[in-house]
Structure formats: C-alpha cells, structure tokens
Symmetry: C2
Subunit: 624 residues, 2 copies
Amino acid sequence: MSKYSVKFLPNDISVDVEEGTTIAEASHQADVFISNLCGGEGVCGKCRIQISRGRAEAEEHAKGLFSQDEIMKGYVLACQTEVHDNLEVIIPPESRVDESQILTGAAEGEPLLANDNPIVRKIYLELPPPTPEDNAPDVERISRVLTKETGSRFVDFPLDCLQHLSDRLRENEWKITVTLSRDRNNYRILQIDPLNTAGSNYGVAVDVGTTTVVTQLVDINSRKVIGVKGTHNNQASYGEDVISRMIFACGKGGMDPMQKAVVKNINQLIGKLAKDNNISVEEINSIVAAGNTTMSHFLLGLTPCSIRLDPYVPTARNFPQIRAEQIGIHINPRGRLETLPGVASYVGGDIIAGVLASGIAEHEEVRGLIDIGTNGEIAIGNRDWLVCCSASAGPAFEGGGTRCGMRARTGAIEKIEISGSGLKYETIGNAKPIGICGSGLIACIYELVKNEVIGPDGKFHRTRKDDRVAIEDNIPQYIIAHANETETGADVVITETDIDNLIKSKGAVFAAIKSLLDYIDLGFDQIETFYVAGGFGNFLDVPKSIAIGLLPDLPHEKIQFIGNSSLTGARMCLLSEKAFENCTNIASSMTNIELSTYQPFTDDYIAALFLPHTDRKLFPSVEY
Amino acid sequence: MSKYSVKFLPNDISVDVEEGTTIAEASHQADVFISNLCGGEGVCGKCRIQISRGRAEAEEHAKGLFSQDEIMKGYVLACQTEVHDNLEVIIPPESRVDESQILTGAAEGEPLLANDNPIVRKIYLELPPPTPEDNAPDVERISRVLTKETGSRFVDFPLDCLQHLSDRLRENEWKITVTLSRDRNNYRILQIDPLNTAGSNYGVAVDVGTTTVVTQLVDINSRKVIGVKGTHNNQASYGEDVISRMIFACGKGGMDPMQKAVVKNINQLIGKLAKDNNISVEEINSIVAAGNTTMSHFLLGLTPCSIRLDPYVPTARNFPQIRAEQIGIHINPRGRLETLPGVASYVGGDIIAGVLASGIAEHEEVRGLIDIGTNGEIAIGNRDWLVCCSASAGPAFEGGGTRCGMRARTGAIEKIEISGSGLKYETIGNAKPIGICGSGLIACIYELVKNEVIGPDGKFHRTRKDDRVAIEDNIPQYIIAHANETETGADVVITETDIDNLIKSKGAVFAAIKSLLDYIDLGFDQIETFYVAGGFGNFLDVPKSIAIGLLPDLPHEKIQFIGNSSLTGARMCLLSEKAFENCTNIASSMTNIELSTYQPFTDDYIAALFLPHTDRKLFPSVEY
C-alpha cells in the first residue's frame, strides 16, 4: 500500500500515512488536533480544513456544509476526507484546538513521568520456579515482583484469581500476565492470564455530557487514541436539561430508565469503537468517565434528588471505583470504571477534568476555566489554590427560553451581520433557516446594539423606524429571516423578551466570573489565560462575546478554547495514576463558592444586566 | 423461673443461672472452662465433672460413659446435665482447660484494648442534617464520623450502599446503622441500615480440622460465646488424612466436592447455632476460620496440589478476606470471611491461632506450642522471635498404622496398667473393647517397657516367658484383651511392628522439638511452658508421654493443655482487629525450619528411636 505525507499548517508538522487514511486519523498520528464534536461522523462540521497543496475531494454528502466559495478554496471535513496524495493542510482558526497545552500533553506520545502508570496495566512475568531454598507460596512469587512494581505492600488477589493459580503457573512454565488496577491506595489484581497477553490492553475515556456522550478508545500500551465516537445522550427523552431529568428520575421508577439510557449510549459507542478497531470489548480493561455531578449520579445509579433542593447536597463527590459490569457496561467483566470526582452539586467531574487537562493547578500564574452551558461553571487558581463556582445561566445560549432558539444543527442561523446594506446571515449546512443557535444569538444582540436597534438595556428604541422591527402582543421583535426564506414558513425573530433572557444568561456567567475574582481579590488583568471549555466554547466569537459582556474584556489571545476538556481529562486519568491522584487532589482542595447565598454575586448580577455592563470601565475595548 | 447458684471448684467461681440451664452453659457464663470436643453433643465424654454438693443426675444415655463407681461419686457430663438445685461442681483435672491464660483471656468479658474493635462492627449514627453552611455530600457526613472511628482516611463505600443512601438518610431523619469491616488497612462499609440495628451483630469462629469442624457463635457486642457446635469433617469420605484428600482433590473434578463437603459442614453447624439461639443467619456478619494450610486451601477452593510435592509450595499463606457467600457459606450475603494466615505448607493458620491464643508471642520468656496429629507441629519463641517446624508423625497416635489402633470413641481401650497381679484396661464408655486409641497405645508401650516385656529398642525380650506374648507370622505381639472379652471376638493386640511405628511417630515429634531447640541454641530447661494443643492433647497422660519419649522430660506443671487453641485464636480475631493483625505479624515473622532438608533432624530422629531415647540424660526422671 502506498504511503503519502500530510503536512499540517500552521503547526508545520508532517506525518506519513497509508493511502486511504482520513485526514482526521492522520492528525491523530501527528499529534495535531482538529476540532471535532460528533466523533468523526461527518455531521457537526467542526473539523473543517483547507487543502492548500495536493488533491483531495470532499465527500459528496459533506459538501452541503460548505459555501461554493469554500469548496473552490479546497475546504473539506478532515474526518470525511481520505488521503490519496501528498497533502498540505491548513487548519483554519475555527478548527484549531491545538493552542492549549492540554491536547498535546503527556497523554499521547510523550514519555511517561517516572513511576507513572495507567490505572489498569498488564504486566508479563516470567517467575523463577520454586526450589527447596525458596519455596514461598505461589502468591508471594507474584507479590514480590508486584510490590516492586507498585511500591505498595498490599496487592489484593481476588479469590477467583487464586483458585486455579497453582495449576496455571505450572502448566505455563511460570509465565503469566497479570492485569493490575489501582484503586486509591490499593493495587488489585483483576486477572491472571497464561503466557504473555500484555500487548492487548485498551481503555475508554467517556465524557458523559447532558447533551452528548463522547467516548475515546485508547491503546493503553502505545498511549494513542485509536478511535473516538460521540452521540446524543439518550436521557434527553426524559428531559432536556439536568433539572427536568432529576425531576423525572425522582419520580416513581424514574432512576432505572435514566441510568439505563446513558449506559446504552456508552455500550453502543464502545461496541462501535471495538468493531472499527477490530478488538473485542473484553480487551478493554478500564473506563474513566467524567460528567457533571448529576450525570455522574445517573451513571452510577445514585439517587440525585437532593442535588436540586436547597442546600444542594449530592450523595457523593468522590465515587467508588467499580467493576464496569456492575452498572451494565460491557467490557472485560473484571474491568474497572472510575468516575472522576467533583467539588459540589453544580461543579462536577467534568470541570475537574478540565482543570486537570488545562494544567491550571500546575503553574504559578493564575488561570481560569469557563464552561458555559445551562450552568456556567468557573474555576480559577494556580498550583497553590483553587476556587470555583457555578451560576445558573438558563438555557438561552443552548436554544431554550428564546422564541426561535435552537441547538447548533443544520438550519440554525449561526452568523448575523447588519450593516448599511442590510442584514446577512449564515446557517449551519447553508440550509434554509429554522431558528437561531447560541452563536447566532450572541451575534444578533451584538449587531442590534451596534446598529442602535436596541439600547444597552436590551430594550428596543421605540421611536426608531426599522422595517425589520415588528410588535406582537405589545412586545417588539426583530425579524432576522422572513417567512418566505425559512424552512418553517414562519419568521425567524428575536424578541425583547428573548434579549432579556439572554442578558440574564450572560449576566449570570459574567457576574459569576467577577464575583469569584473579587472573592479572591484579583482583577481580570491578573488572569494569565481564560480557557473556554465545552462544545459551546468552540462556537463562540470572542470579540462579540466580549462586546455583549459575556466574556471579560481581555486581550483575545488570553482567551483559549480547549474543546472537550472533560474527555481529555478523563483520558489523562486512564493513562496515569498520578493524573487521577491529581484530580482527587484538585477536587478536594478546590473551594466552592455557593453563589446563591453569596450577596456580592447578586449585586454583580444586577450590574451585569446591561450591554456590555453598567460599569463601562470593565469593557474599555467595546466601542458602542 | 427459679434461679440457682452453681459454684465451680477448684476455680471457686460462682454464677447464678436460670433453672434448666446446663452446667456447661453455666460454666460459659462464669467464664470457667471445661474440656469439650464434640461441641456439647454428649458424645465425646470430655466434659466429665463431679457434683460435690446439690442434686443433679446424669442423663440416662450419658451414664454409659461412667463406671458404676463414678456414677456413685456424682460424675456427670456438664453438657448433658441441667441445673435444678444449687450446685457445687468439681472439675476434675482431666476436664480442666482453665489453667492457661488463653481461655480466660480478653476474648470474653474483659474490657477491650483501647482502639480495638471486632473485624466487623456496627455503628449507630445520628447525623446532623445538611445546612447551607455545611452542605457536604451525604457520603462525607458519614465518612467524617467513620474516619474518626477508624483513624483511617479511606473508607470504601460499595456502590449498592450509595445508590439509595440519599433517600434512606432523609426518610429516617439521618439515623442509620453502618456495618463496617476491616480488611488489612482498609475499612469497608458492608451495609447501611435505617435507624438503630447495632444491637444485632454476630460472628462465627470456625476450626476447620482434618477430623472435626467446630464452630462457635459469638455475640459481637457482648463478646460472649453463645453457642458451640462440632461435627466430623465431611471430607473424610474422600480420604482420612490430608495427603489422601489432596490426591483425591487433584484428580479430575476432585476439588469441587472437597470444598463443598466442608462448606456443608459449616452451613449445618451455623444453621443449628442460629436456630438454637433464635437468631437469623443473616445477623451473622463475620466468620474467622482457622485450619491447616491444606484445609484452608480446600475451604477457599484453592488447588492444593503442589503442597504435597517437593518443595512443598502452597498457593498462598495469606488469604484474601472474602464475602462468605463467595464460597457458599450462608450468613449475611455481605458478611465477610477471614481465613487465618499460615507460615508454610505444613504449618498453617491453626498453629498461628494457637500461638496467638497461647500468648507465646507476647512475653519475654520463651514458650512452645506442640500440636500432635498426623503431623506434629511445633512453634517456639517469645515476643522477639518465633520459629516453627512440622514433622510427619504418621497416623499411629490417631489409630492408623497399628493393627488394633482406632480413634478415641466408645470401645477404645484408653487406659492400661500391668502389674504383678496382671493387666487392667479401661475402655471409653466402659464398652467391650474394640481396639486401642492413642492414649491407650502410649500407656501400653509404657507398661510394656516398665514390665520388661519389651526393651528400650521396642523389641520383645524373646527369651522371656509371658502368657500374653504370642508370635504370629514370626512377629511377636502382646495380647491386651482376649477374643472372648472383645466386641469383635478377636484379640486386641499390639505387635512389634505397631510398636516400631509408634516409636517412629514419637521419635519424629520429639526430634522435631529437639531440632528446633538446637536450631535456636536453647535447652529444654529454658522453655517456660510447653502448651499442648489440639483434641489429642487433652487425652495425653503427661508422665507416660514423657516416659516413652514423646514429650520432653520437664516438670509436669510446665506442660499445659490448651484444648482447641485453633478455635480460640479464630474467636479472638473475630473480636479484635488487633488480634488479627497480630496473627498476620506472627505468621510473617515466624521462621519455618524445613525438617526434610535439615540434617540435624535426621540425626535427632534416629537418636529418638529408642524408649525413651538413646541419650538417657535427656530423660533424667524416667525410671526404667
């Protein structure tokens, strides 16, 4: 089979791959990272790249995701485009996730830290047979080696590994492979195989998101991600957001279907990953899952009912390591599942994973992490201290609570520009508009203020004449797409009420950031970097997000998107006992500020209900 | 119901008990110990006592165990005799087991050591409900208390205890009972019950002997033994001794029935104990089992095949704590089974339990433990060091390998005296003789040497005329009971070959003791006390055992019978984490001398093939 070279720009990293490899796979091999939400299914359109040299053609079905101009310029989806030529590839800014350390960190390719190990590893042993001078029990011949390997006096041998050990050792001339897992301070033998099977050891990292579930299959030995798959969380049929799902789960018989829904997601994704990579699910010995506190409770089947009730108490924030089979996940029946610890009811393992992945807790400089969804979660700190908080932002940025809001999918208006010559919009997939997604809403508000359609209080200038402004039920609204242009045959509009909701959402997020900084007595300029995590993060237009007062007014290079850092953190823990230990330390040392009972937050929140803010000094760069 | 007082002599301890209580039960309540092998079934005849004041009558069926003279003198079985009067009871020397510290030790009644706890305990908690100021997760409200209780940072919460914890706490106003077990350095929650169930917590100590299985039911809270039951080991149908059972187990499909046989024993005994004490087996949360290394392997289902093959390697000498249910034992399904650690293939957990129970490892003075069975196991040491060894004694003392040998049961000749006026013998149950048990054989050899029927080499004086000496197949034999007196209608005899086998057995035991002492460069007189453990021990006549060279020639008060110290040690571990820790330390610090490869043993053995010994200086008190 022929090999071709693929060079990635602006990274300037080249890799030789076999013909037929996708560009996405080539990027994995090169340790270059391209944005990706759907796990390579070709539907999210986030891995757009430009072929600048060599011949490669977009798959027919992917062409709908690009404008004619873009197709002419060589835009394709990395996940859908195979290599059949030497290529030079430009990763455009919107597809880059390579600026942060996290995605090129030690997790892949780089040498291990001294004495670091994956949470489940396999060790091939050739033991010296017993002699009259050394007739220690079979178990101790193994323990001696493992004690050296682990530095721990205690290695648990489960009964079933002992029962036939004597025969197994003697039949195989004292050659065995031990599968060893670490659980807190204990080492536990999962399995003892005859001869050398150490070459086969796989793990799965899972981001259990409220909206999506994403899995990565990792070859533990080579420390490479060999597959990634994502899907929508099946629990959505019981409720769109965590609160409605909690209400469902806490009704009679509600927990069981809620748990089974997400377990089914995970089993399907793992099944596909295993099939695609030609391995058996039994070769997967470890899973690390990261999710918010409610998702983690659902996954493990823990009643989450008190999470949503004052004073917001979860069952646990540290979760036991279990056999994955105990909750119905199909991997090796002895394989382990670790669920990353969280801090509180609304700052979960996904945020801890993000803090781990972004390296915030490792450096002297103070850095922050923002994850914007229905809740805005913020963590700030350095290697000496960490604080966090969570603010209920409401679903406005995710398409809820606004008249024509929708999630980011085909037909969603994601870009809007208003100028003297009129209004231009772009939809995902260049389809007829259906509604407006989060990035569209941000752009819309920005343009409306800039063009003085609405004031900094979010209210329409009633005296101003604009063809696109209409009044319905006494509430002014702005028509973005007229009925004759839309898929639905109805106007796509943004109403004054929508804008009010959006201002409340962005106000909550910004006030949370500000309150947290005030709490630790730091100014925005003392933050080295703000990492923006989560799927939503990758869609944000930084200048416009600053202009409406969602993100603080910092030099743009200080705001970095780090993609799915929940998944990255989970993968790091799969590959490193120390990373998992760090997670536990991060979670236990982080101070959570409960904003609902923190008076300055209320003041900050009210002050933030303005575009960009009542205190313009906080947004010096914003020009309107 | 009336109460009566029972006074035990020579202890001079009185107790008030309810009418109808057996004297054996009264002795438990008084912390006075009476010998007992069969667990109170009235068959072993070992709990003989004499009623010196008050009226009490032996059960009709027990009368056969006493001579007419004894019945006249008020001899009864303690286990079969109820209290219906104020009594004074003399415990005759043969029924005493109260001289050693072990059976009146801390295990029963005495206050606990500071910070000591049973291996499974129940803790009733009334937790403060969460407040906005203290909204730690549910698990942490519990952990905080348990961390204080255990002094350990880590308490394992199994998943199923977490799943409904939130509801359970709130439904029961934060009142719960936690069942907590200790496993090495970890504390594990077994169960969380609503409200206060701490009053019900039972444990079972098991001595898994090759011949008998004995169980004690212990009320963990009051630290009292509330029942004891024993039975013959069902495994006997697959082989009388450990070697033949190993051969059976290592044949195709042999392990499973071997394990199930002893598990069935244990289940039956526990079932009876629970029924008699009106508790459910589900209230039993812990079992501690002690047995020799092979018995421990059988119990846990570990292949024992390499134990009997040079270089004698067991699968394990430390065994994992497991759920008892894993091996089919019916107690609380979450209840734990701990199997006491051993030292080597032929020095098992039963000996470690004995060392623990006898307190050898606690004092400055050097003491020894001897357990005589098919193997003679010897442990010697003090709080600074411990050595042990095992010698294959053969089955002669247990009735095997001798023409008319039998186990100690009805019809066995157990006492023999030869004098000028002829030969007198006594049988167990005063029945017609069937054969000779171990104590009878020892007495027989002693009398034959003393009366110069045989020489110190064990050979018959061919020139001497004796009516009872006959020659069969060229081998001289001595007739103890003539055919017309016996149950079988055949002579009960001891042959020169029998005597040879017995000399080999006693020679092996004595040589083992001597080799071990020489190894540590100590003389017999430097041993403070020799404890003689095991069922057989209680039958030994000390002066005669010394006279034939089985036991070393020490002042008789230095030789103490401690009964079933395997069971006592197991019970101590049930009631004390520290005792279990001590067991582990004893097992790991004890040096095992492998006699089969230790040249001085061979020399000692050959020197010991004489009555009492080739070196008469070792037996200054022996007069023939």
